[in-house]
Amino acid sequence: MQLEVHDLSKIYKGNRGLLATGFTIQQGELIALVGHNGAGKSTLLKILGGWLIPDSGEVRVDGIDLKNRRALVRKIGFVPETPNLFDLFSVEYNLILFARLFKIPVARIEATLTEFNLIPFRRSKVQVLSKGLKQRVSIGRSLLADPPLMLFDEPTSGLDFDMTKEIYLLLERLHASGKTILFTSHRPEEIKALATRIMVLHQGSLVFDGSPAEYFESHIHQNLYS
């Protein structure tokens, strides 16, 4: 898996958003995308996840262009900050609907329910679940098609300590299974514990791209959290 991003931009009113950004991500990397609110982190992830249409630039995953959405959805799984599930329906229904749209065997749903400890909640309506459980369903759903690249937008936002730890373990497990992961975060300890590479966005521009060691020694980290 290889993700190539060239001169990608998306400008909102007031010159905010993402300014001509470019980078390449290789198979098996676990990358933390860091920056202040409004730095362009979520915008970047939403463009890669197909939620936003960029103003300009080019994105390719294994040579497949971002414009080829129907092919790309099998390459990229996107987990938004707020789970976008059909909350009037059960956990199982949410998984079945997406499995059918992806034409994935129903047996995969059982495996997902087991893998994410969702068996006791399979018939529960999503609206009655805690945010942590909804996040689990959301992640499980995005992994149904087994995409090689996973995008997580602030995966631990609003979660308690136990659930946060669970998400860390999940990210590590997915990384160990060979998936490439790009996640946004505001938590230095999260970045330190998980990331193999760190990218920093500031006012829409990529201002740092390097290893965690380099990042924590750099003035960028000092400025960001001072």
């Binding site: 129907r70 976008n84 599930l85 609907l97 749209l101």
Partner: protein, 342 residues
């Protein structure tokens, strides 16, 4: 493609059931039926009967004299032919037309509805005049209604229009905006479905809801019609369902939230409902109404249900409905591709 559309339509119907939208579509025909049942039981206040007579008609002796003498009860209008009188009646300018018949030596009374309060008043009043002059012949030998329907049937096209527009401009924009607001549509676009499949599923949802509501209304009111008329009616119901479902989806795409979709939906709903439904009662409205897509649905449906019209009589209206539907579908698809207000 068909599989995905069926799957998404089922999902939309399940959502309509869960968020109670389906109940709205089922209960409105019931309320309409109950209301009309009550309306039909009320009397009508007829002050003066507007009766049409044919010039040089061979009426029973004493009939013309009696009617003209009873000025307080009758207002007389003269016509050169039965056709002219019938047209006057169809335009709802009068209560009945008396046409002399050679066979019976009496008169044929043409009315709008046979079983109506106005008809009863005409017959009773003429019978009273006949008794007064002690004439034993048949002044009224036959009664012929122009429309053999009660108020329920007269109002049916308006209720059908109301249901179609309700689904189109209230139900669908809200559902589309809900899917946008909760990022459900973006979630579905993370699967290999085509944008067109999602759109077709939504149009199918609208058409199914309209069909359910119309069917329920017909079942409650137990109307009968000719098989040819049924087919024409079905064609226009499907064309209207397609047109206003597509229009409603487009309205939903113009909104970011459910609240704004409800407001915008009403802003489209009323200008489509009122001019079309009231066009029969106003010359000004009848000249404005044809500019509105809803009239291209209302006019043929009214003609098919009440006057025995057929789909072949309204090719332009059918084209207009399909055209507006296609245009709205294209615009929705275009906005969807651009992730408009998502």
């Amino acid at each position: 493609m068909i599989r995905n559309i069926a799957l998404l339509t089922f999902n939309d119907l399940a959502m309509a059931l869960k968020n109670k939208t389906l109940y709205l579509v089922l209960f409105i025909p019931l309320f309409v039926f109950l209301t009309l049942e009550l309306v039909d039981n009320n009397g009508t206040d007829v002050q003066q009967i507007k009766i049409g007579l044919i010039e040089n008609g061979d009426y029973p002796a004493g009939l013309l004299e009696s009617i003209e003498t009873a000025e307080g009860a009758f207002e007389v209008f003269w016509f050169v032919s039965e056709e002219q009188g019938t047209r006057w009646l169809e335009e709802r300018n009068g209560d009945g037309v008396l046409v002399p018949t050679k066979e019976s030596g009496g008169s044929l009374l043409i009315v709008l509805e046979k079983a109506s309060f106005e008809t009863l008043v005409i017959v009773e009043s003429i019978a009273e005049l006949q008794r007064a002059v002690e004439d034993r012949s048949n002044w009224i030998s036959e009664i012929r209604p122009l429309q053999d329907a009660a108020i329920q049937r007269q109002m049916l096209p308006t209720w059908i229009l109301m249901l179609v527009l309700l689904v189109g401009f209230i139900v669908l924009p809200t559902q589309v905006a809900e899917e946008k607001e909760k990022k459900l549509l973006l979630g579905l676009l993370q699967t290999p479905i085509r944008e067109a499949e999602w759109l077709l599923a939504k149009i199918a949802l609208g058409t199914i809801l309209i069909a359910i509501a119309a069917l329920l209304l017909h079942l409650l009111m137990t109307f009968d019609s000719e098989p040819g008329g049924r087919l024409s009616y079905l064609v226009f119901l499907l064309a209207g369902g397609f047109c206003f479902s597509a229009f409603g989806i487009f309205v939903g795409f113009l909104c970011r939230t459910q609240a704004s979709a409800r407001t915008l939906g009403v802003l489209f709903y009323l200008p489509h409902l009122l001019p079309s439904a009231l066009a029969d009662f106003s010359e000004k409205l009848s000249s404005v109404a044809p500019l509105i897509p809803s009239y291209q649905f209302y006019q043929p449906v009214r003609s098919i249900l009440l006057d025995g019209g057929e789909v072949a009589d309204f090719p332009l209206q059918l084209l207009a409905l399909v055209g507006v539907g296609l245009l709205a579908s294209f615009l929705s698809w275009w906005l969807m591709k651009r992730r408009w207000l998502m």
